[in-house]
Each structure stands twice: as C-alpha cells, then as structure tokens.
C-alpha cells in the first residue's frame, strides 16, 4: 500500500505523458494532461495522509531491501514538496488550457510538461543518490524541451546558456556521486549517513561535499552560480516559466537540504558557515539584480535568486527554527512565485508586453488582476499577514537567536528591496497609464482563454492568503519537517529498518568489517 502511494505521484505523470503524447494531435491531449494533473494531486494528497499518519514512509522498489535496491521515501519535507509540485502542476495545466497554442501542443508540450513533473516528484521522493541524479536529468531534459518549445530567437539564445550551465552542474554532481560511492560503496542516502561518517578521511568528504554544493548550487541558482536563470526564465511561454520559477530551483534547494542534513553533517562549521555567506550574497545580488531590470519576468527571475538565498540560509543556520523557516519558505515561494509568473502572462495578454515601459493601465482596467498581483507580490516582499511574512519571520528570528546580526540585517534589507521591485512592477504595469493609450480590460482576451488563465491565479492567491492568515498547521508541519531533517533517525529507520538508525561512530567504524548481510536474509525476492 505504502509502495503504491509512493509510486503513484511519479507513475501518474509518466503515464499521462505517454497518453497525452499519443493524443497530442487532437484536443484530447490537454484534457488528458489536466486529468493526469488532478490524479497526481489526489495521489500526492493520499501520500500526505499516509505520512501524517505513519511518519516517514519508505518502500523498496523492485522489492530489494535497502541499501541494495532503490528506496522511495517520503518524510515531511519530501511529501510536502510532492504535494506542492502537484498543486503547481495542476495550476499550470489549467493555465495551459488558455495560454499554450495548439502548435506547441502538437509538438508535445503536455508530454514534456508531465515528464517534468514526474522528474521533479521523483527527485523529491527518491532515497537513492544515483536515482536522484536520474530524476534530475529527467527534469532537466524536460525543462530543456519546454524552454525552447516554440523556438523564438530569444528562446534559443537563452536555451544555449541554460543548457550549457545546467549540463556542467549535472556533470559535477554526477562526479560527486561517483566519488562518494568510491568512498563508501553505497548509494542509498540513509545508508550514506552512517557510511560517510565512518569514512576515515573526513577532509576528503568535505571536498566532495563541495562538489555537491556547487552542483546543487547551480540548480538552486545561488550566488555566484545563478547566471543561467536570469538568462533564460523570461523567454519561454508563461505557463512554462511559472513551473520553472516555482519548482526547478527548489529541487536544487531540496537536494541541498537533504544532503546537507542527512549525509554531509560532519563539518558543519565549514560547509554550513560557507553556505551562510553564499546565502547572503545570493539574497543580496538577486534583489539588486532585479532593481536593474525593466521587464516583468526578468524582475521576477532575479527575485527567485534572492529568495533562494533565504531558503539556503535556513539550511545554513542549521537550527530547528532556521530549517523550519527554510521549509516554510520553500512551500510559500513555490506558490507565490509561480503565481506571479502566471500573472505576468495574463498581464502580457492584456497589455501586450512584459516590458514595463511598454505597458500600463492594468490597475484601472483590470482591478481584479491587480488584486491578484498584489497578494503574491506583497507576500513575496514579506508583508504580513501573507505567507511570505511568516517565512521571513522564521529566518530572521533564527538568525537573531544565533546573534547573527548581520545575517538578520541582510534578510530584512533584502525584504525591503523586494518591496522596491514589486512596487516598481505595480507602479509601471498597474498604476501607470498604458503608454499607447490602450485600456487593458479583461475582455480583450476571449473568455475561453481568460478563464483557464485566471482560475489558477485565483487559486494560488487564495492559498497564499490562507497560509498567511492561518499559518499554524503549516508552521507545525514545517517544524516537524525541520525536526526530521535535524534528526534523521526516523528517516534512516524507515529506509534501512530498525537498528540501523544508530549513528555510526567514526572511530569504531574504521576497523570494523563492512556489514554484509547474507543474501538469503536480505534479498527480498521470495
């Protein structure tokens, strides 16, 4: 049963991709994709229920016990990422009904989209390092396809940079996996926790940890590895950029959180300290970068970077509160940032551009959209009582608790500068009259396009508000997530079984024989 629940969020999008692709030439494809997204959400929620009921759940794929086979595992962090992925997926699938032209559907948009979701979900659920690499690649190649789908010159130009830098990070990550395997002989992440601690040459572990940090850092778009993001996120279709903005970098953050709480915890004074500075620079350079931009989506893109810094900061500070903040930030930011990109798409449809100098008048003519912009925008800026405030609050409080004044200062300053950018968009796209005298009223777009585009915007905005006004369950969830991250005993037990969770003593393990269980006992196949 648990196995079912863990597999379905990955299998459903794959199956949907296959069927949607086979039906891509007709109108059925988009509805199949939508239906699959609904199913994914249902499956994710079922998994969430299971995790809430049982704590960390795990299942051994192919029925080979960990660490020999591949384990899928869902702890609080994992499952919430899966759910939020499904939500974002559904929102975007609805949006695509209005936005994605038939030409792109025939080129396989829905299949690429669903495999992207499958890859992201797989990355969140896998408990195996190499398998994580595979899901990264599924996600990456799908994102390549989606990024350049449509083939405008900007897209191709952006695609070159996006592809090049992401491939490099992938290969760094892959090499890191190889080296880690070379040191420990295992790939199971729970197993790696003990195995890495038992490695004699801990300095070398830290060197390899740096490779992971760089590999994930590029994915997560931290300073100074984020170049690919502002170079590309403003070019694809809006549904695509919304999914990218919401999910892709978060996979990097998630992987960082996972590896640097579960496996690379031997030299926190070095790795996490470094990550603090990286995070601060990420937050600051991102938000400053946004200030230089004059395009709706480019501004949003730079803000992704800036916000990523908060999340990695949560990890870097490495206290329960900080990690809690990091997790809360992840969830909040996916919803909010995806929504802002969706809004930018609607603005583009109504006002004819995303260049802030060439649009305007949305406040007057489309007040409803204005409200729907304000909610995520000011949530992003950390205005209470929207979701972003609590996220920022947790991080700032964590840094003040640690008496890291400078960290708290930068966190707050970046929040302020975020307001600057959000109000820039507000001022230029909404308040300012349209420079061409156009009245961007909603009826400029036919209802068949407008409604699918507005529904997800409304839905995500409502979620932002709900999380903001009633944060208690989410905060509690984030707290348990953080506790599980800081003390992965439950995770390790769920994966490896009872008795495996005892932390390996580095001194004792060096002369001990590697534990090889007899095949007859461990081989799960009857």
């Amino acid at each position: 049963m648990i196995s079912w629940l863990l597999v379905m969020p990955i299998a459903i999008p794959f199956a949907t991709a296959v069927i949607a692709w086979l039906a891509r030439m007709g109108p059925a494809g988009r509805w199949i994709s939508l239906f699959g997204s609904v199913l994914s959400l249902v499956a994710s929620l079922a998994l969430l229920m299971a995790v809430l009921e049982n704590g960390v759940v795990a299942a051994q794929m192919s029925n080979w016990d960990a660490p020999f086979g591949i384990t899928l595992v869902a702890d609080y962090l994992g499952v919430v990422m899966v759910v939020i992925t499904a939500i974002t997926g559904l929102a975007t699938a609805i949006y695509a009904l209005g936005e994605i032209p038939e030409r792109m559907e025939k080129l396989g948009y829905h299949a690429l989209f669903q495999t992207l979701i499958a890859g992201v979900t797989g990355a969140f659920l896998t408990g195996d390092l190499f398998n994580l690499y595979v899901w990264f690649e599924v996600m990456l190649i799908s994102s390549f396809g989606l990024l350049v789908l449509g083939g405008s010159r900007e897209q191709l130009d952006a695609g070159i940079k996006y592809v090049a830098l992401n491939l490099v990070s992938t290969l760094v990550f892959l090499s890191g996996i190889g080296l880690l395997y070379g040191m420990t002989g295992t790939l199971n992440m729970a197993d790696l926790r003990g195995a890495v601690a038992a490695v004699e040459n801990q300095g070398l572990v830290t060197v390899v940890a740096m490779m992971f940090l760089v590999g994930f850092g590029v994915k997560a778009a931290v300073f100074p590895l984020f170049f690919w993001l502002p170079a590309s996120y403003h070019t694809p279709s809006f549904a695509v950029s919304a999914v990218f903005a919401g999910l892709l970098t978060k996979v990097g953050v998630y992987a960082m959180m996972r590896m640097f709480t579960l496996v690379f915890t031997g030299d926190i004074g070095f790795t996490h300290e470094l990550l603090i500075w990286v995070s601060l620079l990420t937050m600051f350079t991102g938000v400053v970068g946004a200030a230089a931009q004059m395009d709706f989506r480019k501004i949003l893109s730079f803000h992704i970077i800036s916000q990523i810094g908060y999340m990695t900061l949560g990890l870097a500070l490495y206290t329960p509160l900080a990690l809690m903040g990091g997790v809360f930030y992840l969830v909040h930011h996916i919803i909010v940032k995806a929504n802002l990109f969706l809004v930018s798409g609607m603005a583009n449809k109504l006002a004819g551009s995303t260049d802030l100098n060439r649009i305007g008048g949305l406040y007057k003519s489309s007040p409803f959209l204005a409200v729907l912009f304000v909610v995520p925008a000011f949530s992003l800026a950390g205005f209470p009582p929207l979701s972003g405030f609590w996220a920022k609050y947790l991080i700032v409080k964590a840094s003040i608790e640690l008496e890291m004044w400078f960290v708290a200062f930068v966190s707050l300053l970046v929040g302020l500068l975020t307001i600057y950018s959000m109000t820039k968009i507000w001022g230029m796209a909404f308040w300012k009259p349209h420079p061409d005298g156009i009245e961007p009223t909603p009826d400029r777009v036919p209802a068949s396009v407008r409604l699918p585009m507005m529904i997800p915007i409304v839905g995500l905005a409502v979620m932002t508000v709900v999380i903001g006004f009633f944060p208690e369950p989410f905060v509690q969830f984030a707290r348990v997530s953080a506790e599980q991250l800081l003390d992965p005993g439950a995770y390790v037990t769920a994966v490896l079984g009872e008795g495996a969770a005892a932390p390996a003593e580095p001194a004792a393990a060096t002369d001990a024989e590697p534990v090889t269980e007899p095949a007859s006992e461990t081989g799960g196949q009857p």
Binding site: I141, G159, S175
Partner: protein
Amino acid sequence: MEALTALIVGLLVAGSVYLMLARSFMRFLFGLILLSNAANLVIFASGRMTPGAPALVPYGADAPAGVVGNALPQALVLTAIVIGFGLLAFTLALAFEAYRRLRTMDTDKMRLAEPKEDGK
C-alpha cells in the same frame, strides 16, 4: 590502474573545461563530450577496477567464481552514458537550430535574451 585513470580523468576534465570556456559553442559541445567521458570514468574508477573478469555468473555456478569486475558502477556508467547521449543529442539540436536562426556559434554574440543594453 585507478591512479592512471585519475590522471586520464584530470586531463579530460582540463581539456573539457578549456573547450567549454571557448567562444564557439561548437567547442563547448566537444568539451561536453569529453566531460561526460570524464564523469563516467570517475564513477568507473570509484568502484575500483578489475581487469579481465566481466561480471558474469558462469553457467552452472550460482555466483562468479573469483573476483570479477564491480558490476554496480558499470550499470551506473551505462546509465550515465545513455543519459549523456540524450543530453548531448538535444544540445546538438539546440546548437543546430540556434545557428540556423541566430547565424552565429559565437556565444559572445548571442545577446538576444540578455542584450548588451539590458538593465536600462
């Protein structure tokens, strides 16, 4: 042999980095191929190297008789090779299409998405 493989990997990485830093995206592609090879060799060498004994269970036996090559990194490398091929093929298509539409392979001149005067 791991030591020598490490040196080979070092050379391949150095070569690929040098190529990837070039202005021509074609050279980047070449570097990418080299780097994939290097990463595969890293995995392969990390599993330690055994000459002349494929990881096969002989007919009539339940397990390989002596020490055989480590099968796990082989499977990983195989997976990585195929994935690498997929990525490379896509990248090649991208380069091809980019050249067709942008008329350049010089990445210094690819400034459409981030034009020079950007940030005004």
